[in-house]
Amino acid sequence: MAKITKGAPKALSANRLKDGIVVFLTKGKSWSEDIQDVAIAKTPEEEQALLDTGASFAAINDIVDPYLFDVEQNGSEIKAAHIREHMRTKGPSVRKDLGKQAGT
């Protein structure tokens, strides 16, 4: 996972256990494949709350390896700050027909 910056807004990502697909923790404490649905943490307390929720889902084997990553907000659009995490929100840049960007 990419390095995170102290103080930057953050969201929580993981992979679904059953199929490995990248998912993001939503405000409603469920998991979405779309980064636009994420819950954003702006304080250390909110970050911890995301991590705790992630850990509780990992403990019941819904998802694996939850971790925080930096996000940027442009108006209503949410984007991963680092290229690595951005790739996870889209899919392989060399196969635009695959991954989340394929709009499946």
Partner: protein, 552 residues
Amino acid sequence: MYRYDEFDAQFVKQRVAQFRDQTERRLSGELTEEQFRPLRLMNGLYLQLHAYMLRVAIPYGTLSSKQLRKLARIADKYDKGYGHFTTRQNIQYNWPKLKDIPDLLDELADVEMHAIQTSGNCIRNVTSDQWAGVAVDEIEDPRGYAELMRQWSTIHPEFCYLPRKFKIAITGAPNDRAAVAFHDIGIKMKKNEADEIGFEILVGGGMGRTPVVGVTIKDWLPKKELLSYIEAIMRVYNMYGRRDNKYKARIKILVMALGIEEFRNQVEAEYDKIESPEVILPGEEIGRITSYFAPPEYQKLADTDIAYEEKRKADKAFASWIATNIAKHRVPGYAIANISLKPIGGIPGDATSEQMYAIADLAERYSFSEIRVTHEQNLVLPYVAKQDLYALWQGLVKHDLATDNLSLVSDIICCPGLDYCALATARSIPVSQNISERFADIERQKDVGELKIKISGCINACGHHHAGNIGILGLDKKGEEFYQITLGGSADDNASIGEIIGPGFSSDTVVDAVEQIIEIYRDIRQHKKETFLETYRRVGPEPFKEALYATD
């Protein structure tokens, strides 16, 4: 090629059953991810950037048409219609679901294939020369010994929890096409003074963050002692290899720390404790296994085929493909046909299921149903009669498989990089695609001549950049992709590690830099036959540095 007997079939079926049990225990929560991770890795299953990735072993790169069809079917049924051939002669699927893996493995077992030990800190898929058995320079076909090592290393009770992964390669020819000097153990078949064929054993080679060319630990080893000698090396490594730091855990670090003399002494001391080589490798087993690799039933053909020669004269595109992609065969009238998986602007090593089916059919028709996978991420049909080459080529053209670029600029080794890999620091495929597009004109590539470009998306060097004549390493510099260039690396029998040429380049400028390096080479080569590597070895880095970093 090797065929499973009752024993092998039963073994692989049991291994699938074991993994099915482990998968079910994971899905039910009986196993935690921490417990399951090493178990799934032992069976080639990674969790990558976007999804799970399954790496299937293609032992020493040999496949039958039936097996390749199964790989195609798996791509369609469990994945997204394609697969990626790797530098270790494996194939990777990028999108399988954990819950489907046991069924997928059952289907593989039906065609005598598996994913055992394609990951984890164990002995990985044993690799070899893709031209084994057909190369003109070969001393002996190494595949029987590769198969012996495959069997011996499979779920070896002592060597499945090594300090780090362990890679073995073997070649039967003096011209090394298997990069043996860059393996933990590299094996070269060779004759001793009495003209007996045995093995030279190299140890401690590798890439990664500490690239090392392997050194000779045994100048000549009798065939029957192969497994016992390797067992002694493995035992020393298992007991004394570092486990405190994963970046210092490969055998090369142990060999360097002890020095080759002391390491050899320790191996010999362990070797002396092994009762007798016969216990580990019964003599009849060598004969039984090597007999599977007898040559196919070749036709008796004249070495020159008139119709083929006429086609070459008449069809320029065909002639160009012949000139680049065909290698001389040891049997008169036959040729080794290399299939490039590097179309201009394509993803190196990727093949669609449709292409896999097509190649399986062509191999069935023209190459005794056999296909080889190369560490340079291409495929080979090893037994094509010259009279069939034109028909084969036409078949390849139909499926975009006739790119005439073998060993040229656009025949690039490239890891999946940040497009797929969780460890990557930068993308590698787009760089490869851009270089390939820049040199789309094959005549220009031919004018440049043999040139090995190798690209890795992180320091782990899966794209072999250290061994590239031009090596490119993708790094992350404050969130931006950034590429370091090395020159002068080579994976052949005169192996060398590339030297960093200077400060790195951005993704916008790296292709220009590569082009500039190639243009400098064209200017300073002594004649058209002097390859890039020869020129570099003659002149060193200076002319390239001057041009790349000139401050005018």
